[in-house]
Symmetry: C2
Subunit: 407 residues, 2 copies
Amino acid sequence: MLDWQAVYATRASRMKASEIRELLKLLDQPDIISFAGGIPDPALFPKEAFRAAYTDVLTGSTANAALQYSVSEGYLPLREWLVEQMGAIGIACRPENIMIVSGSQQGLDYLGKLFLSPGDTALVTRPTYLGALQAFNAYEPNYDQLAINGNRTPQSYADNAASNGGRAKFAYVTADFGNPSGETMTLAERERLLDLATELDMPVLEDGAYQSLRYDGEAIPPILALDLARNGGEIDATRTIYSGSFSKTLAPGLRTGWLCASEAVISKLVLMKQAADLHSSTINQMAIHHVATHGFAAQVEKIRVAYRERRDLLLSALARHMPAGVEWTKPEGGMFIWVTLPESIDSAALLAEAVKTVRIAFVPGQAFHADGTGANTLRLSFSCASAQGIEEGMLRLGNLIRKTLGT
Amino acid sequence: MLDWQAVYATRASRMKASEIRELLKLLDQPDIISFAGGIPDPALFPKEAFRAAYTDVLTGSTANAALQYSVSEGYLPLREWLVEQMGAIGIACRPENIMIVSGSQQGLDYLGKLFLSPGDTALVTRPTYLGALQAFNAYEPNYDQLAINGNRTPQSYADNAASNGGRAKFAYVTADFGNPSGETMTLAERERLLDLATELDMPVLEDGAYQSLRYDGEAIPPILALDLARNGGEIDATRTIYSGSFSKTLAPGLRTGWLCASEAVISKLVLMKQAADLHSSTINQMAIHHVATHGFAAQVEKIRVAYRERRDLLLSALARHMPAGVEWTKPEGGMFIWVTLPESIDSAALLAEAVKTVRIAFVPGQAFHADGTGANTLRLSFSCASAQGIEEGMLRLGNLIRKTLGT
């Protein structure tokens, strides 16, 4: 089955509809070595744990509740468990600071709905998560490029937003191992972003989808933890909204994620959710809670070990097979490596050629750029790659790039 | 646990926040005889069937797919099964005409998002489904009262909408056993609504949440079936969007419903869903499909038998205990009876008195009225009521109304 991010990115490219249809057909063929998927490896899903969880919650006194309507803010025991998890990464909070959403994508949609009106500006990095752009696009914002290295003045953001008839309403970032770049914001960059947000009096949306998938290096406090430290540990005084996901650690098919923020923000989002879909699936929240309390740490460690090895293999294969002039990120976690090709190469055209001739796939990078740049970039996912596929795939990609460059 | 519709209705009333908090606390007490719930009876949930379904889909070759990301339009076998179901009620369609949503409330939210801009007008009956008003409110429409008896000219709707700076964007109705009134639109009313929609060139949103819960009388074709007949059986030429729900037949806790409409409308909604939450829970769609294909008709019949008996008991108790001047609907299906009190009684005040003194609960009717009228109406739900509770509850309500009237 095709990865939705690959479909997204291809649809968002400048190819003709007929070319896109053709390409998507090719991408779905079984002999393609694919680095396109942004999906977790299904071989790592805790299937037995989920089977036990659904059986348990559907047995005895919990069965009626599992199948019934429930509250919009989410299943209280799951929110209480998340309070502990957030506490462990430096975010002291209460259940009132947590709302369950139907996947973190829904959280992004709600945040767009809450903050954006047509003409407002959202600050995003270049590149940024494609799904966030898709969620925000529904509310017709302008985008301005967030310079996380700090080489822009707060006033320059305000001026750009005003010239588009609105205000900068939030900055959206993935602080750890972002999709697509795999890169991590430094402590200084996180603090600087909070300075900027304070200056512009806007929230920071912190996407923590990959936060627990660190393979090496020292953990850096989440932006919300730094925000808390600035506010005497009082979460209700913070401006950061943290978005969490079970899709990369347990399974995406249950569509269960969460938002953590001040009670004022969460209360508004709960009313919004009540009107939009009443609540997230009761039984899935209970199943997630069951699996999480029966061995979350061990499950995360299993994924870390597997993905760390694949990342190392991909980095090593890139080093051996890429020609001069090709650069890539060295992520400390997550699922992605981001490749920058020489300026002369269009990665969408390269993909079309790659699937036709050398039978490999990746995601062209342009769609991850709110400003339409990045035609010479591409995303490689290592989450579902085999050792053999990585070696063979990078050999083929390196040769194809050489051929395209005429070297 | 408190029923969300009771919470909604109470919040939407004109009571003070402190009074609402007090009332909600009282409503949740175990000795209250409640007719407030709009929830299905959990004793009728097919628990064993769901336990078997989750075990089966999490075993063998389907387990990976059940836990993985999937397509925004929904699980194809479930959509194919729904094609048959829709065909059986006169709606010939293809899988391309069906999108799975996370409960029909989400469908209503998406339809509001698709059709409404601030200043537009939505046509709704008086009373109408409270959840629909909540979903549409996010898009800031005006409401005009849809006269299903046809005693208003098409031009009068257009004029009202224009005077509010927009157009009439759709008519929203529940044709069968609507929440809260329990009433059914006649064949002539359905045809007249299609005439009106054609005249105003707008879609009809047909909420079929209770469609399969008919206890007596002859089934009337859904509006979409009549629309199809006008268009030579070609669904892609119709203007009606049908919203379906598994919440009243299988279980609400899985948050699984569907929309059925022309492929042009469904395609737009699929793109909207992709940006808003990627897709509905994969495993829940597979579990619903499993339970549905292993005995949907028998499950629906079980519910019909139980609810028919409760409706009959409630109608009989009303006839015996209500004083003169109180009127109520005689629904042929669904979960609700709608009561109209003498003009002098405010049902919100009556509820406050009822929970304090005679320990019974119902939902005050005003919140179901987009125009703020209906203070002398109330909704009784019989879905979770026992024979003893019905008899005792109506005796107490009748006496309280007599006392309030001073008779």
